[in-house]
Symmetry: D2
Subunit: 387 residues, 4 copies
């Protein structure tokens, strides 16, 4: 029988909701996996916290994360607090012997993320970082095709994560636009996912050069925020936007492939276009998260008269995690990437192995993020191993 893992989670907004739902749902669809026990949820606002605890189904609540990480009845700390709090919590939790799940980006700086990894390794605990997009079955199909050599030698990886939620200059100044809290803008928020997918699907990068812009430099201060929407008044006093609205970069991979990356929140019509394409010597794949159940796949070896991108619907038993869900053609959604992620986490803990992606991947991502930042500051190519 599968064992139980007792969870303490810090943060209860967008990611907290996604994680809670994953823990609630997982035991029903993946009964063979270790069972997550929703022990305690932690946040600073007692009222919001209590509501969330009741609504999401947590057994208890803590307003002080330090107490949470000391509790004896917790095995795993799930950190989805704002990015600037990740480091301190993760290190304290590791020292307390807790296993760790941390949302991306792992930390605000590469140095911080390395400290976190070191702390986790020293403590000998499990550590995972929340690159959830890896867990879409269509993305896992891309991974499989690359790994099995069915795309041949990889020549190109191009990826863009396009959103449009702040294109209106009167959209208020929310925490995601504040460098102190968020670390960076589209680069760390969206670009981080692309970088992780590049690492996952193609491998390490050698050098990068980037370009960045903040199109709207001041915005009305926000009243409140929830997910990616916010309330505010156009007449509110304005404050400075301190993060990038868009960041692009070019990369050269260790295996010789060329990479192109773009992250922006200024692409009208794109709600959540997390998209990549891989071109290899034997074939290509294309993915767009807005149609996350699909992977476009092309093989050069197809008969000459029927060559074309195949729209593969990754919803049947031939695809990762799909057997747990519905019959072929019955699609899943965004939240399922978190459920699969937690399956990987719990399975790794049960089997005493590190999950993938773990803090090593978080550090690697951070190194590229910072190399890109440095390349922008210095206006030159920056090698990842400089970092």
């Amino acid at each position: 029988m599968a064992k139980s893992i007792r969870i303490g989670m810090i943060g209860y907004k967008f990611m907290g909701k996604a994680h809670s739902n994953a823990y609630r749902t997982l035991p029903m669809f993946f009964p063979g996996t270790a069972k997550p026990v929703m022990k305690a949820i932690c946040g600073r606002d007692p009222q919001g916290l209590e509501t969330a605890a009741a609504q999401f189904g947590w057994e208890s609540a803590e307003t002080d994360w330090r107490k949470l990480v000391e509790r004896d009845d917790i095995d795993l700390i799930d950190i989805n607090a704002p990015s600037n709090a990740h480091k301190e919590i993760a290190i304290a939790a590791a020292k307390a012997g807790k296993h760790l799940f941390c949302e991306k980006p792992l930390a605000l700086t590469l140095a911080d993320s390395r400290e976190m990894l070191a702390a986790a390794e020293e403590a000998g605990v499990t550590h995972m970082v929340g690159f959830n997009y890896r867990f879409a079955p269509a993305v896992l199909l891309a991974k499989k095709l690359v790994e099995e050599g069915r795309l041949g030698k990889i020549h190109h990886f191009r990826a863009w994560f396009l959103q449009d939620w702040i294109v209106d200059p009167n959209f208020p100044l929310v925490w995601r636009l504040d460098k102190e809290v968020a670390g960076s803008g589209s680069h760390g928020d969206l670009g981080a996912h692309l970088i992780d997918l590049a690492h996952f699907l193609v491998g390490d990068m050698e050098e990068v050069i980037g370009m960045s812009e903040t199109f709207v430099k001041e915005r009305p201060i926000a009243d409140s925020m929830s997910g990616l929407s916010a309330k505010g008044s156009e007449d509110a006093p304005k404050g400075p936007v301190t993060v990038d609205d868009a960041t692009l970069f070019l990369a050269r991979f260790a295996n010789g492939a060329l990479g192109s990356f773009e992250a922006t929140r200024f692409a009208p019509g794109h709600r959540c276009t997390n998209s990549f394409e891989i071109n290899g010597s034997l074939g290509s794949v294309k993915f767009d998260f807005e149609r996350m159940n699909e992977l476009q796949v092309y093989f050069t070896s197809d008969d000459a008269d029927v060559q074309g991108f195949r729209r593969v619907l990754a919803t049947d038993g031939a695809h990762a995690y799909a057997d747990a869900w519905w019959p072929a053609g019955h699609t899943i959604g965004y939240e399922h990437t978190f459920i699969h992620e937690m399956v990987e986490l719990l399975d790794a803990m049960e089997n005493d192995r590190q999950p993938s992606p773990n803090f090593h991947d978080g550090v690697k991502c951070q190194a590229v993020l910072e190399a890109v930042d440095k390349s922008i500051d210095d206006r030159r190519w920056v090698r990842i191993d400089e970092m």
Copy 2:
């Protein structure tokens, strides 16, 4: 505070899983709705039942549905047993004063479905039928556009539900291919959904004429079945397929629109293409369930140089139910149609109104199904009011 509704559910396979998931998940995302309490699950096989009860999270289990419908601690009976058991259960449950949710098709015959409706009305209970596709936000957008007159007068409704899971002649003879149990094949299974969408979106039909075929008339007898997949051996003894593989029909609506319907399990490449298009005097909409978050929308009033079908992603606050989920562009999946369906059910019960769709809709659908069957037998147009 929202009240609680205590549920007893009969059936624990494909639909049982979908409903259970809906009841589990609903309170977290729709905290303002009456809370479903998963009291008891019912099935004939004690071992399978016990496993399902534990896995899905039901408080208790019953192997005799008669016991279940008599239990005092149950408010609502959710019937997702095989179609041939619907009638007896529903009528008994109504007599016991239980509220009713019944999967589609409501019954094997129009007469049976009418009896069920009569029993429910006589008992004065809530009754709902499981046409879950109505609850995709993109479908609800189509409904809204029609109702608000934004498509003008409706001229055309064309719909097809295409699957491919039995195109292999060695796919085994499962219960869905047995008329005794399933009532009909693609017609009642898939066509029923199209008919309900037509009623929902366009209105009543006046007359129909159909055509039907069983392409593979004998199949190896199945060992086991789960969802739409099955296990069996090609060498197994064969048995007759007693339902239709495909049924098509034409319809004339009361409002003058022309309808075209096709349901088949013999369309390779279509895993679950539940698709419709509406053409009105002012615009058109197109839907395909394999991309269920999207509705294609066209307006004749758009500026002449930018007319074209718009790909609307029904994932933000402008769309029904979407606010409860994730930020714009973060899609939902098949299972969410059931969650929304149960929100409608529980909300209706809490507010003492009949939900939509209810047994009236189930009866109406059954009337068309049978009119089509009659039109096939008699090789002539059949008026719905003949039935």
Copy 3:
């Protein structure tokens, strides 16, 4: 060296322009084919005719088609006059020993079309009918896949030809809406193409049943018409629309396949959606003329993890006629279907064989058109061999 064929063409509007362009362009791209010599163009309005002759590049002009068909310097009569004139011209031309190309529909009635075929056969001349959509390379790929058995046994053919040019009730009453001249509306204009594609791709039909509607029964009388656009005033006196706005029908093919057909001019957003899908036991194909360079192709035999419709771009040397044009990926357009059609015509004449499609195909199409009409009048299934 390729021989020359001297052409006399009757009609100089939409089709006359398409044919003229084909004759002008063909020798450059198909230098191995017999060379069309544009001898004479014929029409009733001397001024319009003269302009057309000069603009299109015809050597001479005739205002009386009877003169044209008697001219010694003409080998082939190309008839694209209004449908009600086809029969008389074709029979006279055949009697004069001229080879024949006739636009579809071949005639206003089945009886007329049979007379035309008989006249052509008696005269021993070449005869072709203008079902140009057969000649899209993507359609020819569908044909090839069917013929080579790569789709297996055909179970389904569904086709729809959707346009929207008369959805505005103030669009004027043009000749295409006048039964005397046009014979029928969307049925003969659009449906005829679908029927021919069905014959070409699937084979003969056994029986049909249809439904038809004229949504807008009166329209302002038109001032002028060109192609599918027209000028008129909303205040003009109104006249009756005497043809169908939309016609749908179901069909059973001789080989057991089921067919569904819909032709309408009331589908907003569809400028020229001439679309079909074929489902066989081993695969499927989908075509949409608005993306005429593409065929969607699916094979059940693809590896389980990469099954999906392939978007084949039929623009390279693996595809019919494509070698004559541009490099792979450089698309062709509507007018190229006529060029390919004329290649078939001229090649057939040069090699003393009947082209395909010829008057036999025109008669077969007419038989189905009329069977559908009869099925609508009699409200019953009509066998094609009744006709």
Copy 4:
């Protein structure tokens, strides 16, 4: 009445065919435009030339371009010889008072292209450069939307031109892979088109930084080449590939927009994906040449519940050049871009204005191409005004 322009054309392969077809076809569909007279075609191989002259319809042929540019009966010299011959011919022709059309890239170097422009300006002749993709009606719609401010302030331009014709390492070493003749590889061939589209649609660039690669460094020497296909033997001796297989770069535009460009011949499944997207403050557009009749258009001002990219089919009278062709929905192809291009050329000559794009645009494109090359060599950002 429209005047006549007498043309002498140098080169008769891929581009020579496209231009000839344009000159042949133009008078029929654009009778109001000056009439091109196909006076003389010029090439080095007498036999190939004679065949081309006859097949394409040129009145005479010359094997020495110096003779051609001196002929009194020629008004315009159309240069589509290999890129390394452009400069000498253009300057000689200008000196002889001939008007000039030159295929892109204008020359092998920026210096050369400036000399060509100077020569043309000194001679006071008309000059045009062959950026044909501007002339797709869907691209012209993008231009119109930008110019009319309907997309607002432009923030992003991303473009990629993806082909796959040399991904096979045994594809032979053709002239396009030889730096001496072609100047560059995908950068000058494909990237040049993207750069011109960027100039046309967004405006001037300020600085760029690029990256380039030759994935396959040696190939078997080719026997023959035609268009983008070639014949050769895998056993043939190998020679070095001296041009880039792929070039990517980032750009900052003068108006503050960020640009991303990628040109490659190593993208399996992409036959001719010449694609761009523009994101402005009020909307977005997307184009893919493989579906050249379509533009995807998004407006932030659309009603909240029906926002989405519109698939606009630029085939009706609301679109540039479309009235000359077929009814709405009847598409055009690659070759039509050249016909429209020649309409612009001839109209400009008739009306004594410079056409657009002209040699200024060719020079501007060359400056960016070279700035990118320099940025690759120097591994740094290069300002366009350095060049």
